[in-house]
């Protein structure tokens, strides 16, 4: 991180400026044209001239020379404060964070007290007691600020303490101080340096303030030169300029280093974030190779796939050719490619696929709620007979809540922590329905009863943090129902919940009688709830049809692999097979079949050109595979083994949820 700082020109210039000021101050006796107290009465209070490059003060004292000498006081005083600050704060923070217990309590208390003490006043107290002793004053400045640093280091250490490698080191019997010095200290060093740089700015301003007040050292200081300027504002305002410049530039240099380091830390963080996000597929990978990627324009000009299956006429929603791109390093990278499907009124449609297949993004695009740099580059939708261009998010806002509602994966973070459930429900009701006054309150309770919350009155009064995950998701469903929508988009609504709660939530969803698009990676939920299934892989629909047909007679090798690797259909005692290889990140998708690299049936022709969705032979459905007969043969072996398991699974799935819900009081 420190090395990254050297790539920032601003930080390098700042460091260089501090170094120059230090060198000039050290060399002051050698390079200063005059002594700090040399008088030149003939040229008192003059602006810059050849004799006095930066002008002269009272009695003709040379401004440049005094600046050079004055720097010594400021720099030494700052160094003293900063050393005390770091030498007290860092060990105390490490101790409190690593050991916890009493040391932790004492240091927390101390920091609370120290926060409440105005530093300037305490420094004046020290100087009242030890007149002119600037060293003592600056030690006090550092000591008073140290608890705040200790607190910061403590938080960083606590976070580290739970990291695996630290715990491993502890278990291996390494001595504590060794772990602290070798493993913990280097990791918290970045934070420490940021705070030291910021504290240095405070220390410099305070030191010059003492000089200005004339209560610090007797030597010439920058602050004293500002005070001298203040007495001569009327006749020589120039004097404010040189002293002000050195003070401000020095403080600025430390401030910029602190800012630069903080940004460097944040960048390190965001890189880690991105690599994690890459796995989830929310953001495209940094290592996107445009040469292998499908060019964005080409993606938009792809010939349309055959019309999707299902009831064409009277569909509630018909999505056509949705293509979504995210921007990475200024380049658009396609994450969803030409997705089309329909949903009939009241129909339950499930979208399955691994993480990163683009299923959540697809659903978000229907409401114009893509995160970050996400953008719909092509795609239209007909909803209840009304056409929409999905790249025009403003028009989509009219659909939100009233026609299409969204339920998110994490119920807790989908609620505003600061307002009661009643308030949040009432707000959504008022925003989307004509209900007002007491009718709103009644509707709130009605909605909470509809999602089978046992104590609607109590839940209404609660804040989100007072609810369990299952209760919060019921509330989220109630919020989705508040606008009386025709379609609910449920984006992995039970992933964050316990298995027993999952079944209950599914039961609630089933009982609503509304059209639902369920995004999931759980075949069990799909089989349990949905009539129609859509399998997505790397941003494409690879198979579509009735859930029963997909599970019993899959016609895409990815579906076969996904089914085989799902514990829901596993045979007891047999190892669970996994699909070989990994999902390619967006931007590295091949032009041909996206699944080719991982497919056991792959032929050269698969990679030659884009593979289109084709109609499944002798069954309703679509598959994006050139060899569906071979897949059928392969799947038949599997189906024979799985047939019984599937039948049982369907039974268990239905009964299981029924029982779980029934056992609920």
């Amino acid at each position: 991180m420190i090395r990254r700082l050297f790539h920032k020109p601003v930080a390098v210039v700042s460091l260089a400026w501090i170094a120059i000021l230090i060198i000039l101050s050290v060399l002051a006796p050698v390079i200063a044209p005059y002594g700090p107290q040399d008088q030149d009465l003939a040229h008192a209070l003059e602006g810059p001239s050849r004799a006095h490059l930066l002008g002269s003060g009272v009695l003709g004292l040379d401004v440049l020379s005094r600046l050079l000498y004055g720097g010594r006081v400021t720099l030494v005083s700052t160094a003293i404060s900063v050393s005390v600050y770091a030498l007290l704060g860092v060990p105390a923070g490490l101790l409190a964070g690593y050991r916890g217990g009493l040391a932790d309590k004492i240091i927390l208390r101390l920091s609370e007290v120290a926060y409440a003490i105005p530093g300037t006043i305490m420094v004046l107290v020290v100087l009242a007691i030890r007149p002119g002793d600037e060293t003592a004053a600056m030690i006090a400045v550092g000591a008073l600020a140290a608890p705040a640093l200790a607190r910061v280091v403590r938080s960083a250490t606590i976070a580290l303490r739970e990291e695996l490698y630290i715990r491993a080191a502890r278990l291996a019997g390494l001595r504590d101080w060794l772990i602290l010095r070798r493993n913990v200290l280097p990791s918290v060093m970045g934070t420490v340096i940021v705070h030291v740089a910021i504290f240095a700015t405070t220390a410099i301003i305070l030191e010059t303030g003492l000089g200005f007040l004339g209560v610090g050292t007797r030597q010439v200081t920058w602050g004293e030169m500002v005070a001298e300027a203040s007495h001569n504002l009327g006749n020589q305002p120039w004097l404010l300029v040189p002293s002000g410049f050195v003070i401000i530039s020095l403080v600025l240099a430390f401030g910029l280093i602190g800012d630069g380091l903080r940004d460097a830390t944040a960048e390190g963080y965001s890189i880690r974030q991105t690599s994690r996000a890459r796995g989830r597929g929310n953001k495209p990978a940094r290592s996107a190779k445009p040469d292998r990627a499908l060019p964005n324009k080409a993606a938009a000009n792809i010939p349309p796939d055959p019309p999707p299956t299902g009831p064409e006429t009277g569909a509630l929603l018909a999505l056509n050719g949705l293509t979504i791109t995210f921007e990475t390093n200024g380049k658009p990278v396609t994450v969803v490619e030409n997705v089309s499907f329909t949903v009939a009124p009241g129909q339950m449609v499930g979208i399955v696929g691994e993480s990163g297949s683009g299923k959540s993004v697809t659903v978000a695009a229907l409401l114009g709620l893509l995160r970050g740099t996400g953008q719909v580059s092509a795609g239209t939708m007909t909803f209840a007979g009304q056409p929409f261009d999905l790249s025009q998010t403003k028009a989509l806002a009219a659909l939100r809540a009233r026609r299409i509602a969204l339920i998110s994966q994490d119920p807790m973070s989908s609620l505003d922590p600061c307002f009661t459930i009643r308030y949040q429900l009432a707000e959504v009701i008022k925003a989307n329905t004509p209900l007002r006054g007491t009718a709103v309150g009644e509707r709130v309770l009605e909605l909470l009863r509809a999602v089978r919350l046992p104590e609607p009155e109590l839940t209404a009064r609660s804040y989100p943090h007072q609810l369990s995950g299952g209760m919060a998701q019921r509330v989220a469903i109630a919020l989705a129902l508040a606008g009386e929508p025709d379609l609910i988009l449920a984006d992995e609504p039970t992933t964050a919940l316990d298995v027993t709660v999952q079944a209950e939530i599914m039961d609630v969803l089933r009982s609503l009688g509304k059209a639902i698009i369920l995004v999931t990676h759980d075949w069990g939920l799909l089989v349990d709830l949905c009539e129609k299934g859509i399998v997505m892989y790397s941003g494409q629909v690879v198979e579509e049809g009735s859930v029963e047909r997909i599970v019993a007679q899959p016609r895409h090798p990815y579906t076969v692999g996904l089914l085989r690797s799902n514990p829901y259909f596993a045979t007891a005692g047999q190892p669970l097979p996994a699909i070989p290889g990994v999902v390619l990140p967006p931007g590295r998708w091949p032009v041909g079949c996206h699944f080719a690299e991982r497919c056991s049936l792959v032929r050269p022709v698969c990679s030659e050109a884009r593979v289109a969705l084709t109609v499944v032979r002798d069954r309703p459905g679509l598959t994006r595979c050139l060899f569906q007969d071979q897949v059928a043969a392969q799947a038949a072996d599997q189906a024979a083994a799985m047939g019984a398991a599937l039948g049982a699974a369907l039974e268990i799935g239905v009964q299981g949820t029924g029982q779980a819900a029934g056992s609920q009081p």
Binding site: R109, E112, Y115, A116, I117, G119, T120, I121, M122, L124, V125, L127, A128, R130, P131, T201, T208, G209, F212, L213, G214, V215, V226, S230, L233, G234, P237, L240, G244, I247, I248, S249, V251, G255, L367, L369, R371, R400, A401, R402, A405, L406, S408, D410, S413, S414, L415, D416, P417, C418, V428, A431, N432, Y463, H465, Q466, A476, L479, A480, G483
Partner: protein, 312 residues
């Protein structure tokens, strides 16, 4: 709410006690004899000894602290070594100047800083960069120097405001406003951009959260999302920053009172520091630590009002 006040009380009382005790102990290390300092070098030893007894200097330190504390609780903070006048009276005559300087400064900082931060978070672009640069400048420019520049510009070069001097509000409201204008503006300039930056980052954190996206999905208007939900959620950390800012402004006020020659607690502290006037120093630290813990109470209460988790 009772618990919030209770918890505050547990911290506030120790803070006031620790600050006064620390000052008292430090003060006991003063080189030389206060009684001798008061009476002068030529005073006869018997007279010095008599004063020592009168001042309680012959008592042990804890006894002296206890006596001071008991007297202080009854409003008696002793007598100033410089003026021989009552410290309590002296402080009472000055506290309003400091409080109005800091108070008005803080009001301007809060109004301008929070608005600027909110707008720059939502609009982004150049305004965000302006806030970034200005907050760095606010960090780097010492208030006392900025005050002098403003005096040079708006009192000396273009005489709009009086350079120095203080007019009591009771004497002339207009004169009072004119004499407070430059100090308050200076104080506000040093803190506004910093608060704007903090506000901006808090608001941007909130805007990126899931509940904001879900409120949008639920058809709540953008206006309501920002002004109600985001503001309230971002409010708690901002209130904390304002509390810390207040403590910083106390230090800034000490210097600005000297720059603008305002008869407040700050200039009194500086004068007392120069004259080693310990009773005055003790009085000032006591008053200021009480002011600070009171402000902290206000912060804790607003924090609890904004955040239901704290209230519970």
């Amino acid at each position: 709410m009772g618990r919030v006040i209770g918890r505050w009380f547990i911290t506030a009382v120790p803070v006031v006690l620790v600050v006064s005790m620390l000052t008292f102990i430090l003060a006991s290390f003063v080189p030389g004899d206060p009684a001798r300092a008061i009476l002068g070098a030529s005073a006869p030893p018997e007279q010095v000894e008599a004063l020592r007894q009168q001042l309680g200097l012959d008592q042990p330190l804890p006894q002296r602290y206890w006596d001071w504390l008991v007297a202080a609780l009854q409003g008696d903070l002793g007598r100033s070594i410089q003026t021989r006048g009552s410290v309590a009276t002296e402080l009472a005559g000055r506290v309003d100047v400091t409080i109005s300087l800091i108070g008005f400064g803080l009001i301007i900082i809060t109004l301008v800083g929070v608005t600027l931060g909110l707008v720059s978070a939502i609009k982004g672009g150049w305004l965000g960069r302006v806030v970034d640069v200005a907050s760095l400048a606010g960090l780097a420019v010492p208030g006392f120097w900025l005050g002098l520049v403003l005096v040079a510009a708006f009192a000396v070069a273009i005489p709009i405001f009086p350079a120095t001097g203080f007019v009591r509000l009771s004497d002339s409201p207009g004169g009072w406003a004119a004499s407070m204008a430059l100090p308050v503006i200076t104080l506000a300039l040093t803190g506004t951009a910093g608060l704007a930056k903090q506000t901006r980052s808090s608001v941007m954190d909130e805007l990126g959260k899931d509940y904001v996206r879900m409120l949008r999905a639920r058809g709540v208007s953008q206006r309501r999302i920002i002004l109600l939900h985001v503001c309230r959620n971002a409010g708690a950390p901002i209130v904390t920053v304002i509390g810390l800012l207040f403590i910083g402004l106390v230090g800034g006020a000490v210097l600005l009172e000297t720059v603008f020659v305002l008869p407040g607690l700050g200039s009194l502290t500086v004068a007392a520091t120069r004259a080693h006037d310990i009773p005055v120093i003790l009085g000032v630290t006591l008053i200021l630590s009480i002011v600070v813990v009171t402000v902290n109470l206000a912060v804790e209460i607003s924090y609890a009002l904004l955040n239901p988790k704290v209230r519970a």
